[in-house]
C-alpha cells in the first residue's frame, strides 16, 4: 500500500471539528410537509417544468427536463401534489423557478431505505456499455454532488483528443465539520467502488482511485478493505491539509500530475468525481434510482443533535435544522456548505439541492469577523496559497482598480479556497477581494472583446 501523499507546497491546517458527527450513522429524514424543488440544481440552463399545479406526483417521478443545452433532470423527492411553480430565492442569492410539492397526509416513509438498493454488485458483475450508462445517468439526473453540480452524463462523455487513463474519487473532504463523504465511505464503500468501476470502464480508464485524508481513520479502513476486492481500484491515503479536495491538488497528490492553468484534469488524462456522485451512479445504473435525496452533515457545537442525514431534495434549511434538534443557543450564524467556502445566510426557507454538502451553525467564538487591519506583509497568505499566488499583492491591485496587474499576478487562477483569509493576522477579507478581482477581470475581458471582436 503506497504511503501518505500530499501536494507539494502551500495549504494549511484547519480546526477540523469532525468528531462532532464522524461517528453518527446516516439517518434518513422523514419527508417534510412541503418541498421546494428548484428547476436548476446544476451548472447550465434551467429545466422546464413538465408537471402543472394540482398534479399528483410520486417519489422519483420526472418533474423537470430540458433537451436544449447543458442540464440535468429533476425528479420529485416526495409523494404529494404540486401546488405551485414559482420563483424562490437560492443560497447563492439568485432566484430560480421551483416546483412546490405538498406531502400527502396519509403516507409515511417515502424515502427508499439504503437496504432496498440490493444486491450490491461486485467486481465480477458486468458493466453495461458506455451509451447505456450515460443514458441511465442522464435519466437519474446525476450532477457533481461535491458542490460543482456539473451534469455527470456530460462528464462521462470522453473527448477523443483527451483520453482518460485514471479516475479519482475525491474523498478528501477537507472542509471542517463536514462528514458526509466520511460517513458514506464508512457505510456504503461497496456501492462507492461499484460506482467507480462503472465510471472507470465507461470512460476507458486503466485505474481508479479512492483518495481520503488520514483524519478519517474509519473511512480509510473501509476503503482499504474494499479496494482489496477490486483489481483495478486503489485506496489512497492523503495527508490532512486544506485544500486537498481542490481538484487540481488532488490530481497532483494522487498521481503527481500538474494540471496546466485554466485547464481541466481531463487535460492530463484524469477524471475526478465526488463520493456521493459515484454512489448515485451505482444507484442509477444498477437499480434505476434517480437522485431525489442526498446525504449531508448538519453540524456545529450550537446544534442540539448534530449528525449526517439523508435529506429529500427541496427540504428547507429550517426543517433540516429542526430535524437535527434545532440550535441550542440563540447566537449563531448559518453557513450552507463548509465554513471555508460555504455561504452565510439567514434565510431558513432556502431549499436543499443536489450540491448542498452540509449546513454548519457557527458559534460567536468561531466567527471570522473581518476587521481589515493594514497588511503587515507577514507573507502567510503567500505561504499557504496552494496556487502559489501572492494574495496580498493581488488584492492590493484589485482594491486600487489595477485589474490588469491583478490579472498579471494570476487573480483568475485563484481557486477561492479561502486559506489566505483564514490565516491573515490582520483579518483582511482577502477572499472577498479576490472574488471582486475576478468579477472586475470578467468585465475587463468583456470590454476587450467588444473593442476587438474576433
Amino acid at each position: 500500500m503506497p504511503g501518505i501523499r500530499k501536494f507539494p507546497i502551500g495549504g494549511t491546517h484547519l480546526p477540523e471539528n469532525k468528531d462532532l458527527t464522524t461517528g453518527s450513522p446516516i439517518r434518513a429524514l422523514d419527508p417534510p410537509a412541503r418541498v421546494v424543488i428548484p428547476l436548476k440544481q446544476h451548472l447550465g440552463v434551467p429545466c422546464k417544468p413538465i408537471v402543472s399545479p394540482g398534479e399528483r406526483v410520486s417519489v422519483g417521478q420526472l418533474i423537470g427536463a430540458n433537451k436544449e443545452g447543458l442540464s440535468a433532470r429533476i425528479h420529485s423527492s416526495i409523494r404529494g401534489t404540486v401546488t405551485a411553480i414559482e420563483r424562490h430565492s437560492m443560497v447563492d442569492h439568485s432566484e430560480c423557478d421551483c416546483v412546490i410539492i405538498e406531502r400527502d397526509q396519509n403516507t409515511d416513509n417515502q424515502t427508499p431505505a439504503p437496504d432496498s438498493r440490493t444486491p450490491i454488485k461486485g467486481p465480477d458483475a458486468p458493466v453495461p456499455d458506455a451509451d447505456t450508462v450515460r443514458e441511465r445517468v442522464e435519466e437519474a439526473g446525476i450532477v457533481g454532488m461535491g458542490g460543482a453540480a456539473f451534469p455527470t452524463h456530460v462528464k462521462l462523455q470522453v473527448r477523443k483528443d483527451t483520453p482518460i487513463d485514471s479516475v479519482i474519487i475525491n474523498g478528501a473532504e477537507c472542509e471542517p465539520f463536514i462528514t458526509t463523504d466520511d460517513r458514506l465511505m464508512q457505510e456504503r464503500a461497496a456501492e462507492l467502488f461499484r460506482g467507480l468501476e462503472i465510471i472507470r470502464i465507461t470512460v476507458g480508464a486503466r485505474t481508479g482511485y479512492v483518495a481520503c485524508e488520514i483524519n478519517k481513520p474509519e473511512a480509510i479502513k473501509r476503503i482499504v478493505e474494499e479496494s482489496a476486492r477490486w483489481p483495478h481500484l486503489e485506496a489512497v491515503r492523503l495527508d490532512t491539509r486544506y485544500p486537498h479536495g481542490a481538484e487540481k491538488h488532488l490530481v497532483k497528490a494522487v498521481l503527481d500530475r500538474e494540471v496546466p492553468i485554466r485547464q481541466l484534469p481531463m487535460s492530463v488524462g484524469v477524471l475526478v468525481n465526488n463520493v456521493q456522485t459515484a454512489i448515485a451512479v451505482t444507484d442509477a445504473v444498477d437499480h434505476g434510482i434517480a437522485v431525489t435525496s442526498r446525504v449531508l452533515t448538519v453540524s456545529g457545537s450550537v446544534v442540539s443533535h448534530p449528525g449526517n442525514f439523508q435529506v429529500p431534495l427541496g427540504m428547507s434549511l429550517g426543517d433540516l435544522v429542526a430535524a437535527a434538534g434545532g440550535p441550542a443557543e440563540d447566537d449563531y450564524r448559518l453557513v450552507v456548505g463548509g465554513p471555508m467556502t460555504g455561504i452565510l445566510t439567514d434565510d431558513f426557507s432556502i431549499p436543499v439541492t443536489k450540491s448542498t454538502s452540509g449546513v454548519v451553525l457557527i458559534r460567536p467564538g468561531e466567527y471570522a469577523d473581518r476587521s481589515a487591519e493594514v497588511c503587515i506583509r507577514c507573507g502567510r497568505c503567500v505561504s499557504v496559497c496552494p496556487m502559489y499566488l501572492q494574495p496580498n499583492r493581488i488584492t492590493t491591485f484589485v482594491r486600487n482598480d489595477m485589474t490588469e496587474e491583478a490579472e498579471e499576478f494570476g487573480v483568475n487562477d485563484c481557486i477561492l479556497c479561502g486559506a489566505c483569509s483564514f490565516v491573515c493576522p490582520s483579518r483582511r477579507p482577502l477572499l472577498q477581494w479576490l472574488r471582486e478581482g475576478k468579477a472586475k477581470s470578467a468585465v475587463l475581458a468583456d470590454d476587450r472583446r467588444r473593442r476587438n471582436p474576433v
Binding site: I9, G10, L14, P15, P176, K248, H249, K252, E258, V259, P260, I261, R262, R333, V335, P339, M340, T341, G342, I343, L344, T345, V360, I362, E366, Y367, A368, D369, R370, S371, A372, E373, V374, I376, R377, C378, G379, R380, C381, V382, S383, P386, M387, Y388, L389, Q390, N392, R393, G410, D413, G418, S421, F422, V423, P425, S426, R427, P429, L431, R435
Partner: protein, 572 residues
C-alpha cells in the same frame, strides 16, 4: 478601519492577530535581553526597555486606535521595533539615546511612510543609521563585559576564539553578542511559524560564502558582530522583507553579501545597517523577480529551470574567464618580477643565497633582506610608479647601511625609443650612494634624461619612495650581532621593556646557536603584541642575529623582545 462583514467566507478564522504576532516576537527577544543584562548589567535593561516603551508611547498620538486598556502598549509593533533598536545599542550609550532613537524610529522610520505596514525601510535600522551617522561614538563605544574596559570588538581586530563569540562574553552591542540566545529566539519564531527559516539561513549563507570568496574566515563572519542578530530579527522584519519563498532566498543572500562587502571594503567595521536598508528598498522588486510560477504553469516552470541552467552556465563561464585572466596576469607579472629581482640581486650580490621579506613603512614598497649564507648583506626594495605610458616597476638594491647600490627598471610601458633610455646605465648610475638621509636631494642631484623627463622623474620618485620606506627602520635602535657563539649550551633568562611592561624570555643555546626562544611573561596587547613577539622570535632564529626588523604596528613589543634576548645572552 471599518468593520467589513463578509458573506462569502471563510467563516472561521485562525486565532492569529497582529498583536499576537508582535508580542510573540517580543518573547523571542527575551533570551537576548536577559543575556545582555547578565553581561552588561542593569543599565542594559534600561536601554532596551526605555527604547521599547518610548517607541510605544510616541506611537500613541499617531495611531491611537492601536492602544486600549487590554493592550496598553499597543499591538506591540512599535514595542518590538524598540526592543530591537535598544538591543542594537552600545552598552555605554547615554540615557537619552533610547528616547531620541525611539522618536526617530517611530516618526522618520514609520509614520513618515504612513505607519504600520507602509514603511519601505526597517524602522529600527533607519533610527540606527541616523544615530550611527549623528553620534558615532554613542553607538560604537564598546566595552568588554569581562572587565568593563573600553575595547575593540572582534570585528575591529580583537582576537577571540569561537566559544566566546558563541556565548557572548565579548564587546559589542547589547543584544548581538550571544549567538546562543539569538538562536533560542530564532527557534521560537520558527516553531511558531512567525519567520521562515529561509531568510536567516540565506543571510548567514550569503555572508559565509562571500567571506570565503574574499578570504575571510566564514565561521568568524557568521558568529561575529550583529550578523546573527540581524539575520534573525532584522532581515525577517515582515513589513520590509519580501513575502515569497524564492524572493526570501534572494533577499537574504543579498543582505549577507552586502554586509560582508561593507565590512571588508568600507570604514565601517559592521555592515548590516546599510546592507539591510539597501535590501529593504529592493523587497518589492524581489517579490516580482522571485515570484514562484503559479501552480499549473507547467511550461513556465520548465522555462525557469532552463533559464536557471543558462544563467549558472554563464556565471560559471565568466568566473572561469576571470580566473584564467587573473592567473595569467599573475603568472606573467610574477615571472617578470622574478626575472627583474633576479637580475638586480645577482647583479649586485652575486653570492646571494636567500632573500626574506623585511620591514617596509610604505605598503606600496616591498622590501627584502638579501643573505649570503646566514649573513645579511643588503636590502632590495621594489615598487611600482606611474611613468609616461603607464605603470613602471623599479627595483632598488641597497647596501647593509641602506645606501643605494644599484637601480633596475623592470617592466614598463614607456615609449620604446625614448623611455627605454632610463635603463641606460648613465642615468641609473646617478643613484648610487644615496641613502634615506640624503633622499631629499635626489630631485636636485639626479639629472633627468632630456626628452624623457616624465619617465626619469618617475624613477627618481620610485627610488625616493623605497628609501623613505626604510628610513624609520634605520632610526630603530637595534643591537647588532648575537654573541651566541661564545656561550655554553644551556637556557638563559633575560628581560626587556616592551610596550606594555616587562618581557621575560628563556633563550636556549645549543652548539653555539640560539635554538629556541620562549616567552615566560609579558603584558603586551593580546592579538597584536604577542603575535608581533612571535614573529620577531622567528626572525631572530632565522637570521641568528638580533639585527632583524620590527613588526610594523608593534615596534615596542618587537624591540622589547630583542632587548630581552640580548639581555639573556649578555647576562653571562
Amino acid at each position: 478601519m471599518s468593520s467589513t462583514y463578509s458573506s462569502t467566507g471563510p467563516h472561521i478564522h485562525s486565532q492569529d492577530s497582529i498583536a499576537r504576532t508582535m508580542w510573540s516576537i517580543a518573547v523571542a527577544l527575551l533570551p537576548a535581553t536577559v543575556v545582555a543584562v547578565w553581561l552588561f548589567g542593569p543599565y542594559a535593561l534600561y536601554l532596551v526597555f526605555a527604547t521599547a516603551v518610548a517607541s510605544a508611547l510616541i506611537e500613541i498620538p499617531f495611531d491611537p486606535d492601536r492602544f486600549s486598556l487590554r493592550l496598553p502598549l499597543g499591538d506591540g509593533s512599535a514595542f518590538i521595533a524598540g526592543m530591537i533598536l535598544g538591543l542594537s545599542l552600545a552598552p555605554t550609550s547615554a540615557w537619552w539615546v533610547p528616547i531620541v532613537g525611539a522618536a526617530l524610529m517611530v516618526i522618520v522610520g514609520k509614520y513618515v511612510f504612513g505607519g504600520l505596514g507602509n514603511n519601505i525601510f526597517n524602522p529600527a535600522l533607519v533610527a540606527r543609521g541616523i544615530l550611527l551617522l549623528s553620534w558615532p561614538n554613542q553607538i560604537t563605544r564598546w566595552i568588554s563585559p569581562v572587565d568593563g574596559a573600553t575595547s575593540a570588538t572582534p570585528l575591529s581586530g580583537l582576537d577571540v576564539g569561537y566559544l566566546p563569540l558563541f556565548v557572548g562574553n565579548i564587546p559589542g552591542s547589547l543584544g548581538e553578542t550571544s549567538v546562543v540566545a539569538l538562536l533560542l529566539g530564532a527557534l521560537f519564531l520558527m516553531t511558531r511559524g512567525l519567520i521562515s527559516w529561509r531568510v536567516p539561513v540565506s543571510v548567514l549563507t550569503g555572508a559565509a560564502v562571500t567571506a570565503a570568496i574574499l578570504g575571510i574566515d566564514p565561521l568568524f563572519t557568521v558568529l561575529s558582530g550583529s550578523l546573527m542578530f540581524g539575520a534573525v530579527f532584522m532581515a525577517t522584519d515582515m513589513v520590509t522583507s519580501p513575502t515569497g519563498k524564492t524572493s526570501h532566498l534572494i533577499y537574504g543572500a543579498g543582505c549577507g553579501f552586502l554586509t560582508v562587502v561593507i565590512r571588508r571594503y568600507t570604514a565601517y567595521p559592521e555592515g548590516i545597517t546599510f546592507a539591510f536598508l539597501l535590501m529593504n528598498g529592493l523587497a518589492y522588486l524581489m517579490d516580482r523577480i522571485g515570484a514562484d510560477p503559479i501552480f499549473g504553469q507547467v511550461e513556465e516552470r520548465k522555462r525557469r529551470v532552463y533559464r536557471a541552467v543558462l544563467l549558472a552556465a554563464a556565471v560559471a563561464l565568466m568566473a572561469l574567464l576571470a580566473a584564467a585572466g587573473f592567473i595569467g596576469r599573475t603568472l606573467i607579472a610574477d615571472r617578470y618580477l622574478d626575472a627583474a629581482r633576479e637580475r638586480s640581486i645577482t647583479g649586485a650580490y652575486p653570492q646571494a643565497t636567500r632573500v626574506a621579506e623585511a620591514t617596509s613603512y610604505d605598503p606600496a614598497v616591498t622590501m627584502y633582506r638579501v643573505y649570503e649564507e646566514r649573513r645579511p648583506v643588503g636590502y632590495f626594495g621594489h615598487t611600482t610608479v606611474n611613468g609616461y605610458g603607464g605603470p613602471m616597476q623599479v627595483s632598488v638594491v641597497l647596501d647593509l647601511d641602506e645606501s643605494v647600490r644599484s637601480v633596475v627598471v623592470g617592466q614598463n610601458s614607456e615609449s620604446p625609443t625614448v623611455g627605454t633610455e632610463v635603463r641606460t646605465s648613465g642615468f641609473l648610475a646617478q643613484f648610487s650612494g644615496f641613502d634615506p638621509q640624503s633622499r631629499d636631494s635626489l630631485f636636485d642631484e639626479v639629472e633627468s634624461i632630456s626628452g624623457a623627463t616624465v619617465s626619469s622623474r618617475a624613477v627618481i620618485r620610485a627610488v625616493e619612495r623605497v628609501l623613505a620606506a626604510r628610513e624609520e627602520a634605520v632610526h630603530e635602535d637595534v643591537a647588532v650581532g648575537m654573541p651566541a657563539d661564545s656561550l655554553a649550551d644551556g637556557v638563559y633568562r633575560g628581560s626587556g621593556r616592551g610596550y606594555g611592561g616587562e618581557i621575560v624570555v628563556l633563550v636556549t643555546v645549543a652548539g653555539e646557536r640560539v635554538t629556541a626562544i620562549e616567552i615566560e611573561d609579558h603584558s603586551e596587547t593580546p592579538g597584536l603584541g604577542d603575535s608581533a613577539m612571535h614573529t620577531t622570535i622567528e626572525r631572530i632564529l632565522d637570521a641568528q642575529s638580533l639585527d632583524v626588523d620590527s613588526v610594523s604596528g608593534a615596534t615596542g613589543s618587537s624591540r622589547g623582545l630583542r632587548a630581552a634576548v640580548e639581555a639573556a645572552l649578555a647576562g653571562n
